[in-house]
Subunit: 189 residues, 2 copies
């Protein structure tokens, strides 16, 4: 693999397309690899991402620039949980029940956090995080994409992610913020 390629670990064509858009203008060609990586139980989001990118490097071989991303939804009343485990909660409980977990708590605020771990051609690992603060609300809008119908960002216009159009969401989302940092970094190299 030549050095002007950079690998994004995903098997999801839509995710690849979205990330290509977020990283538009970088001097690398963005390609994807659908690697099967283990995810650790860890409350430190950086550690989960770093462990994943190390596995990716050992599968792809040294010298291949590669990154992984992971998004967590951290309820402040629950001291950051479900965090990285949110995908299991969505899968096992469904959106309505996740909202109900906060019934006993006054504080409904949350942080959405995307963590990117990038291993460069020298094998050095760089971590970039984007954070968007918001509130957990009763599901509003289409429920097609993960927990988007539950999360109303503070910087938005009073809508949940699920109710916002993609362009609006990309202005303030934790994911866009994390990829903006990665892009900035790559442009400086």
């Amino acid at each position: 693999m030549s050095h002007n390629k950079i690998v994004f670990v995903t098997g999801n064509a839509n995710k690849l397309k979205e990330v290509q858009l977020l990283l538009k203008g970088i001097k690398y060609e963005l390609v994807n690899e659908p690697l099967d990586l283990d995810e650790l139980q860890e409350s430190k989001l950086e550690s989960i991402a770093i462990s994943k990118v190390k596995q990716a490097t050992s599968q792809l071989g040294a010298g291949v620039p590669v990154f992984v991303e992971d998004t967590a939804l951290c309820f402040n009343a629950m001291n950051g949980l479900p965090g990285a485990y949110i995908k299991w909660f969505v899968k096992e409980m469904g959106i309505d029940n996740i909202y109900k977990m906060l019934t006993g708590f006054e504080d409904k605020t949350a942080k959405a956090i995307t963590t990117i771990a990038y291993s460069d051609a020298m094998g050095k690992i760089h971590v970039f995080q984007g954070i968007t603060e918001g509130t957990i609300v009763e599901p509003q809008g289409p429920r097609t994409f993960g927990w988007d119908s539950l999360f109303k960002p503070n910087d938005g216009v009073g809508l949940t992610y699920a109710q916002m159009d993609k362009e609006e969401k990309n202005k303030i989302s934790q994911r866009a913020r994390a990829f903006f940092k990665l892009k900035e970094y790559l442009e400086q190299q």
Copy 2:
């Protein structure tokens, strides 16, 4: 290491002592190794334990009989969650807040599940599970041991694990049940 030894992966002397008691009478000498094993994010408890015992085998070398154990607390209203993640919830949220997660749900029942994965001298993996059904209650009794003050087993005398004496608890606990199965298996070999 001789073949009449069996390794329990733990760095906790009290746990070792308890398990030595639960396995009393087996023809193996029980020793411990404080290995540092990764735990996967997984909703299948068997998969987490199997992944751990495989790591243990690769660290100890083939031919060493070794087992790991992992205990999950599965809320029925949350379709089995927090499950294996319960230790992170205890650590990050504290006992009182865990109880509050169920405020919005009528169903307060739960299953406590201990999963043991045992890799024998041939490297074949055997899984044993013990399950105790119960109810999640407001914390009662000493809070010194994990979530014991939250869990009132159905087979008990109306007390939480934390309020029961060790002997009473060991008659009905998911942990004792899982180790009883392991012991039964080892005695047949």
